[in-house]
Amino acid sequence: MSLQANIDGPGQSLSFWDRRRTIASAGFNRFLVPPAALAVHLSIGQVYAFSTFNLPLTRLLGGAQSAPADWKLTEVGWIFSAAIFFLGAAAAVFGRWVERVGPRKAMSVAALCFAGGFLVSAVGVSMHRIWLLYLGYGALGGCGLGIGYISPVSTLIKWFPDRPGMATGMAIMGFGGGALIASPLSLILMNHFKTAASNGIVGAFVSMGAIYFAFMMIGALVVRVPADGWLPAGWKPAAHPQELVTTANVHVDTASKTPQFWLIWGVLCLNVTAGIGVISQASPMIQEMFAGRVTAAAAAGFVGLLSLFNMGGRFLWATISDYIGRRNTYTIFFVLGIALYAAVPTIGRLGSISMFVAAFAIILSIYGGGFSTIPAYLRDLFGTMHVGAIHGRLLTAWSVAGILGPVLVNYIREFQIDRGLPKAQAYSTTMYIMCGLLLLGLVCNLSVRAVDPRHHYRKPYKT
């Protein structure tokens, strides 16, 4: 009997987008799945480079300088915030749907939303209606970000039960790496479409929509899910799993009522709050702490370097967590983070740029590692059944941290400067507050215990 007949059953024909059509045939190479996931994450990671468009969007009418009727930078800034908000919301709301329909349909919908967001925004730019950008890139594109972010996660965990950290780390690394591609690509496209009457944003948006749609669809077409009960050749689950690694499953609705879910929520939120605050202020921070020694161009290089470590940390730390365990990995994040944040004011006083860059490079690798190790941590505690949906709900921690981190850094800095402190010293208090947040995160992490068996899902489970 052919594989298709096996899948469809007699007399049944399945749509190309049906989850059962994506069940892998025997001999499928599981290493095809990580690049498929990377194709999606490298695309949606563009959101981190959206700031490349900020200044050009404030000069649509004026050309070289902003005209009075041009959009303000604060108005434009809300496009990114809306996209991140809708990322978290869509991941939480559509998590169970993504689990049900499978990765191919979810990735395709994510591609349509993300590309559609660019096209609606292009219309908004040509008509000079900012609400179309909020609706397009912010809401529609943001939903594409959320669905795209979680769509390959549970599939990767099922393909790599022996190395779940490495597998999800590889995909989520793409989200960090997306900005490295999008930043120069946006500049190249804007220059290409630039005319005397336009700064080329419309052309850049339309092109990026088309490019990212094609790239994400490559992932959607290649991705496959393993058959029920599939295990890697020669691999057997450990007879005595580690303390926090379960072989049971927890339903997504039950998981969010357990203390473990909220402790991990706290771990993610506090780790991200500390990192995102630094990302949002990295450029002015290094220029103000080393006044006269670091130019704006060099500060941009510093931001790029941080992006590289953010990306590399996602793969490296998640892979390490497969060997040393998830809780130990986060303990290292928090202890190392506290030590490094506490050292920053001293490094600033010593005037060592190299030590400053090294400290923040490690901090950003921890920030990235915090994102990429979470899915495997959830798999360990709640099993594979609803790990994608649970991960989606957990990403609300990201939305909260996205507001908390920058607000903390900005407001405390302003407060210190208003009190008459020199700009170079204005970040010290912030660094100590970050230490406090990380200490709280450490407590949350060390409080994580195995989920009580009464929460385990009792019915037979089939994907």
């Binding site: 790496g177 941009a300 370097l305």
Partner: protein, 33 residues
Amino acid sequence: MTKIRLIVLWLVVGIPLLWGIERTLQNALKLFR
């Protein structure tokens, strides 16, 4: 055939990523000049 698909797919995602890394490193070097 599977090996060729595997190599092609990794190249499709790897080349843009390496291009992005190379551009970023070029900028980052300005920090130490």
